[in-house]
Symmetry: C2
Subunit: 308 residues, 2 copies
Amino acid sequence: MSEPLFERLTLIGIGLIGSSIARAAKVRGVVRHITICDESAVHLARAEELELGDRYCGDAGEAAEGADLVLLCTPVGVSGALTKRMGAFLKPGAILSDVGSTKATVVGEVRPHVPEGVHFIAGHPLAGTEQSGPDAGFSSLFESRWCILTPDQPDADAAAIAALSRFWEGLGSTVDIMDPDHHDRVLAIVSHLPHLIAYNIVGTADDLETVTKSEVIKYSASGFRDFTRLAASDPTMWRDVCLHNKDAILEMLGRFSEDLAALQRAVRWGDGDQLFDLFTRTRGIRRSIIEAGQETDEPDFGRHHPKD
Amino acid sequence: MSEPLFERLTLIGIGLIGSSIARAAKVRGVVRHITICDESAVHLARAEELELGDRYCGDAGEAAEGADLVLLCTPVGVSGALTKRMGAFLKPGAILSDVGSTKATVVGEVRPHVPEGVHFIAGHPLAGTEQSGPDAGFSSLFESRWCILTPDQPDADAAAIAALSRFWEGLGSTVDIMDPDHHDRVLAIVSHLPHLIAYNIVGTADDLETVTKSEVIKYSASGFRDFTRLAASDPTMWRDVCLHNKDAILEMLGRFSEDLAALQRAVRWGDGDQLFDLFTRTRGIRRSIIEAGQETDEPDFGRHHPKD
């Protein structure tokens, strides 16, 4: 890239996502200068050792001063308080955004603290691993991923939306735009419910008396293992997701539980036809995902590696 | 392998598992002659086209005649009837086994039809993909996998168990032995419950009015996609698993549902501590799986592939 899209980028929070943005922005030359802020002195010192930025500071207000783009890369629970702290330091014309997994409550908490003249456009890059911390990031994390922007005002500045879109495209992502409430319902079904169910089944397995934990681990390739990856995700982030996307999550959990009760009843009464119908219907979505080129068709059932 | 372990192998059913056994047994030279039987004339003709065996016939009795090892590779629902049909044709000293995902009811249905002098030892190779049919098999399917044998009689012939173990080891698997009831409880948690939950969530997503199916597909990499692979497994096989492992599945489903109700309550009441505790506890199992060398630690969060 010949000319950077932004002069000065400030990252508030230098965990998996923040440190991946720092690395990608540097590698791809989309910004000229990066200021890094984290409330953890340990993370901040590590970011400096890894040379992820050009300037490091523990105070969000100071870090935001003079920035053209400020990205909140913290758990969603603290976005409101951080914006309040930064308010007076944000320069007119600056763009403020975030990377949180839920949008409606974050917008509600951040919006009141956004000063006149600053463009706040919430965002959510659909990228991550189950790792966390500044060492976990990598520069290709956002390549071929979606980033959803959720402007919440009808008169949102089109130029600011376009600039923020180009930033994420500069990191390799494809940008989609939707309203915050719809984002939260979509993510509740494609991401939040799958994670909660994964956490739940791993918890259930952990509590069994008749099957040992070592047996669960030994034979985990038979289906269980896929869930353990999701259930190893960052606990703080997921607690905040549950607290901030409560309504959409409860709706999806309610529907899931009703359907599961019907399935359980079919198993109890030996209703083979009902089971067969469900098990047939669900194949369609898999085919559509493969046809959309979002997954390969090759067998990827995990293997174990016996030690002998 | 210099000398085949068995002279004559008969495979009843030539789907994913049966055709993989045929291919592996041929490639690895563990048997000298393979007879293939399938009630579907289409599958049988296809098996012959693919040259998976040495002899093809539609009748199980005829196919079993003279075999040293007979493997039932059919959905578990028909194992009893097939054994009844084969009974008079099985030669003294022959070993009869199966590959079904549930064991206690299969043993109960097969055992009464096993003639004196024939060694019946049920088995379950923990291997598969979501594909089915004779074209779906491949010779490396059983490499580095577990195969669980579940002898149901205290005086089971040790020599026959050893011979059947060597057969599976010859296909690349590691053999474990446990009793049929325990097998069913272990598999209920590591395989059956994960599959039922996956079928259920894909069904729930399919029914939503507020989020379109195309949105679910588009953003499926955020967690949902892992479930679609499990939910694309063979409907007939999974219907039979539910009908044949009812008690263990209902126990696990009951525990899962109770735990999910508690989780739902914590979300509704905003109990962040309870959520955080669960989300922390579940990381341990993932670590154990990685330490056991059964999974890598690398980020494998799926990517989408935008078409532009």
